[in-house]
């Protein structure tokens, strides 16, 4: 129904006039014909148009459709499918990198030493960031950053992605999300955790982040990066309109990080770490280290250093604390080297344990240089030379053999050799070739001056005595397979050396403090002056290397105390007690039966039935 019927007549006529004017304006010159009436309309319809016009139109439309069809066939029919595929991919396909999970590091008893646990990273888009003062304060408190720091990061307006805090606990991240602040988001990531903290810090090292991901920066983390880290993968996804994944495909699959099982025993590591710390603090030492090796397999049971660091507190890292001294630092070993010189001489048949060497008057001059003993003694047997640690006696023994022989023995046990141990920064130490030795050097090298070793090398070398004259490489990973040992000394020489080294821990030796109840122990003290800028100083490095139980050695323990200045500095006073603590704890942890004669007595008494019921 037309609304015009309801309008007043005046309005109707006005509307009609407007409509007529409009039509007139549209038609222009044909106005008279139109106003003349409907009878002329027939003529208009019969107006002859040129035939080509409609054909042209038809042709035009047809060719447009044809062009479309050709294009469609071209794109879809297999001639050029790339274009549509690219367009499809741009809309629905996504390629996501997949970071592998870093492997876990276990100790020999499968206790976790390092593992990656889920964490969150909180990031903000400064452009979208919008929070009131209260929210900002809450956010800063949760992220444990100062409000000024937060403001500074948010102020960075030309970026659309700013990390506010990384490696955050998932629980805290949830509370941050609960604040519902615009422009603050969280990302999933992993955090490396070291449950043992400072105890294993040097050995394990730590990881750090680069643009491509997490990498080991120190210690085992770095050394076994290839195993632990894995390889990142690339995943190809097809999503639907709503962002759900429909199909996936690996461009290349990620290789997950492998777990590694170290030879370390968590308990022994703790014992060594505690003992090293105590010894260093009690003696006001600059630093201290200890190494525990399994004598049968060469496995590294413990490796501890002081000062230590907490891997969880990265901001406080100090290179002085982070360095794995037992592995990377060398020192002049001093007397702990003597047994090797004596063993080399015995191996050549030059001396026997009971050969008498005259060490009086406690000094010996070779080519203008004088070697002295701290405690001059008279005639000593070779056994006593080792037990009492006589420099003069050792020099006299060493000068009897060719330099080459001494060098060969020292090299065979690993001094001056590239370490086979897979530990970061393991050093070769310094042992010059024998052709460059002057006679006095042959004497000084024989008692451990003029060459340098790391504590790990020293402990490793003592395997020769703890085993029957052969040596196996140090293994950082737990090994179940037998390694073929390399023979250095004859079994009889090794047995004689064990006897001498046991004598060194007797009351007449230099290290009675190394003894432990219930077990027979053997070892050698070392007290060497420290070299600084080519001169010997008043600072000392005190060391003790030994093994136990002597009847069937199972462990080798090396302890080094750097620069003790609490009055005492002899290896027998400073390092030997720490050795005792570590060895006793280790033997107990490994449940090795006691072998000392006093225990045999207890056994005899018990077997007689006197005490069996009472206990």
């Amino acid at each position: 129904m037309s609304p015009a019927g309801l309008r007043p007549a005046a309005a109707r006529s006005r509307a009609a006039a407007r409509a007529a004017a409009g039509r007139a304006a549209a038609r222009g010159p044909s106005r008279p014909a139109a106003s003349r009436g409907a009878s002329r309309r027939g003529d208009l319809l019969t107006v002859k148009l040129p035939a080509w016009r409609s054909k042209l139109l038809l042709f035009g439309l047809f060719s447009a459709f044809a062009a479309l069809s050709v294009r469609a066939v071209y794109l879809q029919g297999g001639w050029s499918t790339g274009f549509l595929q690219r367009q499809g991919e741009a809309r629905y396909a996504r390629t996501l990198p997949e970071t592998p999970t870093r492997g876990t590091i276990f100790d020999r008893n499968r206790v976790v030493l390092a593992s990656s646990v889920p964490a969150r990273a909180i990031w903000a888009n400064p452009e979208d960031f919008d929070a009131d003062a209260k929210q900002k304060a809450q956010l800063a408190r949760l992220l444990q950053i100062s409000p000024q720091e937060l403001r500074r990061r948010i102020a960075n307006d030309d970026r659309s992605f700013v990390y506010l805090r990384r490696q955050l606990d998932p629980e805290v991240a949830q509370r941050v999300e609960a604040l519902h602040i615009n422009g603050v988001h969280s990302l999933k990531e992993y955090r490396r955790q070291y449950p043992e903290g400072t105890v294993t810090s040097h050995l394990l090292g730590f990881t750090g982040f680069t643009k491509v991901g997490e990498h080991g920066l120190e210690g085992v983390e770095r050394e076994y990066e290839a195993l632990l880290g894995g390889q990142p993968g690339l995943r190809h996804l097809i999503e639907d309109r709503l962002g759900h994944t429909i199909e996936d495909d690996w461009l290349h699959e990620p290789v997950q990080g492998q777990d590694i099982v170290l030879a370390i025993d968590d308990r022994i590591q703790y014992i060594a770490h505690t003992a090293v710390k105590q010894a260093a603090e009690a003696n006001a030492a600059h630093a201290a280290s200890a190494v525990v090796l399994d004598a049968r397999t060469g496995e590294l049971l413990a490796l501890a250093n002081w000062p230590d660091f907490d891997p969880a507190r990265r901001s406080q890292f100090d290179p002085n604390q982070v360095r794995d001294r037992a592995v990377t630092d060398t020192f002049e070993p001093g007397s702990t080297l003597k047994p090797f010189s004596v063993a080399a001489a015995m191996e050549c048949g030059l001396v026997r344990p009971d050969t008498v060497i005259d060490t009086a008057p406690g000094r010996l001059t070779i080519a203008g240089r004088t070697i002295t003993d701290d405690h001059p003694r008279g005639a000593l047997t070779v056994e006593q030379v080792v037990a009492k640690s006589s420099n003069v006696g050792t020099a006299k023994i060493a000068l009897q053999m060719p330099a080459q022989t001494l060098w060969e023995t020292l090299s065979a046990v690993g001094f001056g050799q590239v370490p086979q141990t897979a530990l970061l920064g393991a050093v070769t130490g310094r042992l010059r070739p024998p052709s460059t030795w002057r006679p006095v050097e042959q004497a000084t090298i024989a008692y451990g001056y003029g060459m340098s070793v790391s504590l790990l090398q020293l402990a490793h070398a003592y395997l020769v005595f703890a085993r029957d004259g052969d040596i196996v490489p140090v293994s950082v990973l737990r090994t179940d397979s037998e390694v073929t040992p390399v023979r250095v000394l004859s079994a009889t020489t090794a047995a004689k050396m064990r006897r001498m080294l046991e004598l060194a821990t007797s009351d007449e030796g230099t290290a009675p403090a190394a003894r432990i109840a219930g077990y027979r122990v053997a070892g050698k003290t070392g007290t060497a002056r420290k070299l600084r800028e080519g001169r010997y100083t008043d600072a000392y490095v005190s060391s003790f290397v030994g093994f136990a139980p002597v009847s069937d050695p199972r462990i080798v323990v090396a302890v080094m105390i750097d620069d003790p200045h609490a009055g005492r500095y002899y290896g027998g006073d400073v390092a030997a007690p720490a050795f005792g603590t570590i060895a006793a704890g280790t033997l107990r942890a490994l449940q090795i039966p006691p072998d000392s004669p006093s225990m045999q007595f207890a056994q005899a008494a018990a077997s007689a039935g006197e005490q069996a019921d009472g206990r």
């Binding site: 999970t101 876990t104 206790v111 976790v112 030493l113 593992s115 990656s116 646990v117 889920p118 992993y190 955790q193 449950p195 043992e196 903290g197 105890v199 759900h244 994944t245 429909i246 199909e247 996936d248 968590d266 308990r267 703790y270 014992i271 505690t274 432990i516 109840a517 219930g518 077990y519 704890g585 107990r588 942890a589 449940q591 090795i592 039966p593 006691p594 225990m599 045999q600 207890a602 056994q603 018990a606 077997s607 005490q611 069996a612 206990r615």
Partner: protein, 103 residues
């Protein structure tokens, strides 16, 4: 026959087409489920790693030692170890009867 064949075939085609759509849909549904399960598996793995790490933290020798001391326990002392022969058959071979120290 020639009249019926196209009819049968075309209805067969329709049925097949519907089946294809249905199976595609089902496949996508299952894929989504798989995706969710894989996410769950990952989350559980991460949780397991966290718990193992927590366990390691709780069983640190330092903590165990602290608790043992609080309970008045002491490290085994060789004075208190008695050596006993294992059996008569094995003769006087000494055997460690040392009480195993609890970690």
């Amino acid at each position: 026959m020639t009249r019926i064949a196209p009819l049968v075939l075309s209805s067969l085609l329709v049925v097949c087409a519907l089946a294809l759509v249905a199976s595609q849909y089902r496949a996508r549904e299952l894929f989504a489920e798989l995706e969710v399960s894989q996410q769950d598996a990952k989350a559980l793995d991460a949780e397991a790693a966290r718990l193992r790490s927590e366990l390691g933290r709780a069983s640190q020798p330092a903590i165990v030692e602290g608790i043992a001391r609080r309970l008045g326990m002491r490290a085994i002392n060789p004075d208190r170890i008695v050596m006993l022969p294992a059996t008569a058959a094995q003769g006087p071979q000494p055997v460690a009867a040392a009480a195993k120290e609890q970690r």
